[in-house]
């Protein structure tokens, strides 16, 4: 029934983000038991790669990014030791995580890594990418906020990551801002620039409701790795919902190797019940997508809005205007305070309640 679709027969690798990007949506409060239950279900459903860390990755436990219930080592060890076929991956953002932490994650069983930099700063990751390859890890260069660099610029940054040793290069739509045309241009430029054996990945956010369509476009123009998460659990309006994406792939004849019904059940029975808020396109997450703001800023902005009395949407728009990027979560509180002062609101020195 899918013979007439152009992607029929195309093979891709699904990379689950529920237990990493999903940590953002849970304010880093997923328990080890919950992680193991979800990872086991993903493993059983045939998902080959799943990411497990604090939302900000290795080194993420901090006042800046929030403290998780457990250490990255505890999460990784608990999950990796129970996998039958799936490999566990981690996120590493240089400037936050270090090679020592990567070694420690590897020792706990991690075998793949997203080495992430802002889309213009690939040259902050050469040590980390080389180190991951030396460990024999599947190593992706992960170009975040990819809408903030041109297709040509993305191709140049991707070539740098390839030269450091990355065997995959990602176009990462951290703000959920990209339209299918934007994805086509960037993935296409990477495909033209990189060696044939270097894979291309796409990591979408659903802030404009386009994560599925963008992922399909990425595949059409050469991507073979797609990040997604069960029920979309992730920052902002979430990632591409894995079970929805798998269903679309089935319809199109794209081969994922995953069991669609098992993914549906895991999303509905395990992930949906543990959501603190419904991960969906709402006023604030739509603002992220519309203004091109880092998805993780969402809950931080909501907290700052409560404390300083400036609406979250106004804070997010201002952060977009000031071109703040991933990692600058401190600037949310700072910006909210500055805006409150400008609006003549009292900024209390002490938090109440």
């Amino acid at each position: 029934m899918s013979e007439h679709y152009v992607l029929n027969g195309r093979k891709i690798v699904l990379h689950d983000m529920t237990l990493r990007d999903g940590m953002h949506a849970k304010r880093e409060q997923i328990s080890v038991d919950q992680m193991v239950a979800i990872a086991t279900a993903l493993d059983d459903a045939g998902v080959p790669l799943l990411q497990v860390t604090h939302g900000a990755g290795l080194g993420g436990n901090s006042l800046q990014h929030g403290r998780a219930l457990h250490s990255n080592e505890d999460y990784i060890s608990a999950v990796a030791s129970r996998m039958k076929q799936a490999r566990v991956s981690v996120l590493l953002i240089p400037g936050l995580g270090t090679m020592k932490e990567l070694q420690s994650a590897y020792d706990c069983g991690a075998r793949a890594v997203h080495c992430a930099t802002h889309c213009t700063e690939a040259d902050t990751a050469p040590q980390h990418i080389a180190y991951a390859r030396k460990l024999g890890m599947d190593t992706a260069g992960f170009l975040m906020m990819a809408h903030l660099n041109s297709p040509k610029g993305i191709a140049e940054q991707g070539k740098l990551m390839e030269s450091y040793g990355a065997n995959v290069v990602y176009v990462t739509d951290s703000a959920g801002y990209m339209l299918p045309e934007d994805v086509k241009a960037r993935v296409g430029a990477l495909r033209d620039a990189l060696k044939p054996e270097t894979e291309i990945g796409f990591h979408g956010h659903h802030n404009l409701g386009l994560a599925i369509a963008n992922s399909q476009t990425a595949i059409e123009f050469g991507a073979t790795r797609i990040d997604a998460s069960l029920a979309g659990l992730g920052a902002g309006a979430g990632n591409a919902p894995l079970e929805v994406f798998a269903a679309v792939c089935d319809r199109m004849g794209i081969v994922t190797g995953a069991d669609l019904f098992k993914l549906m059940d895991a999303a509905e029975d395990l992930v949906l019940p543990m959501m603190d808020h419904l991960v969906r396109v709402d006023r604030s997450s739509l603002t992220l997508g519309f203004a091109g703001v880092y998805s993780t800023f969402l809950l931080h902005a909501k907290r700052a809005a409560e404390r300083f009395g400036v609406p979250a949407r106004d804070i997010l728009v201002e952060l977009g205007r000031k071109k703040m990027i991933g990692g600058q979560e401190d600037m949310i509180e700072d910006t909210a305070m500055t805006m409150a002062k400008e609006r003549g609101l009292a900024v209390e020195e002490q938090a109440t309640g």
Binding site: Q64, T120, D123, T124, K322, D334, M337, V347, A351
Partner: protein, 304 residues
């Protein structure tokens, strides 16, 4: 008035900015710049500004140390080559101000501990990192009031102000700064985060300092201590400014700073460059004053 003669090792952003700072000093005089690439723009600029240059590394400088009376050297190369540079120049009696993350000598943040180092005539002092210079004074300003269990600093830097050496070695930056938050800042544990932002026009360096105190923070005394410390830093970095805070949330103290540079070599957004070179200059000046007064005399040290 006599000045202490200085050599600059490394012809990148930091070394070049140092020329401007040293030329304004009453007690320091830049006379040599050392590079490794004969075609480097930094060396050409140094020659234009009247310095002698060599592209042969420290070995190209060593034969001239005695004749040109070089007594202080600033190393702005990398952590990997600093130890060797320091060994060679210390052996000739040249005191080292280390601007790499090598940190083989004691760590120095001028308003916190410079006097201790000058009193002891250290032959190698380390300037930690730009983020360390910007944030550790604040950590110390809190920890001198009450015990700090954990301090975390976040430095946002304009992409154009971060040179290739720092980019390729971010882990060294992280380790050195995290350690200094404890050793100099006085926190029991520490963590440093760096973000490189490519926005145009470039953003001015921003720093956020979080401290977790053991007991409820004494807001009034901590606020007063922080404001006094900011005044101390402003003496050598006029663009060091409090933007927001301190604000208190349970035991968390948060301070939000901006650091604008003087715009000597790189434009004013590069406060990270400025605070590092200004701190190094201030450090060297303190030593130079002691040398000129005859209170201390740098001695050749045996190679370790």
């Amino acid at each position: 008035m006599a000045k202490v003669k200085c050599a600059l090792i490394g012809s990148g952003n930091i070394g070049t900015d140092l020329i401007y700072k040293l030329k304004r000093s009453d007690v320091l005089e830049p006379v040599w710049m050392v590079g490794i690439d004969p075609a480097s723009e930094g060396l050409a600029r140094a020659r234009d500004m009247g310095l002698k240059t060599t592209a042969e590394g420290v070995d190209g400088l060593a034969p001239h140390v005695a004749a040109d009376g070089v007594q202080i050297a600033f190393d702005a190369t990398s952590a990997y080559v600093h130890a060797e540079n320091s060994r060679k120049l210390n052996a000739l009696g040249v005191m080292m101000v280390d601007l790499t993350p090598a940190a083989i000598g004691p760590l120095c943040v001028p308003p916190v501990n410079l006097r201790q180092h000058t009193a002891k005539l250290e032959m190698n002092v380390n300037m930690i990192s730009c983020a360390g210079q910007a944030t550790i004074p604040i950590v110390y300003a809190v920890s001198r009031i009450q015990p700090v269990d954990y301090a975390e600093i976040v430095a946002s830097l304009a992409s154009k102000s971060v040179g290739p050496g720092t980019r390729a070695n971010l882990d060294e930056f992280t380790y050195t700064t995290s350690n200094a938050i404890c050793v100099v800042g006085g926190a029991r544990t520490g963590k440093a985060l760096a973000i490189i932002n490519p926005a145009e026009p470039p953003m001015i360096m921003r720093n956020t300092i979080y401290c977790l105190t053991d007991d409820e923070p004494d807001a009034a005394r901590i606020g007063e201590s922080i404001r006094a410390m900011i005044g101390e830093v402003q003496k050598y970095v006029p663009g060091y400014k409090l933007v927001n805070g301190p604000i208190f949330d349970g035991k968390r103290v948060a301070v939000f700073l901006e650091v604008a540079g003087l715009g000597d070599y790189l434009p004013r957004y590069a406060g990270n460059l400025d605070i590092m070179t200004a701190a190094a200059t201030r450090t060297a000046e303190m030593f130079a004053e002691e040398i000129l007064s005859g209170a201390i005399r740098p001695q050749a040290t045996e190679a370790a």
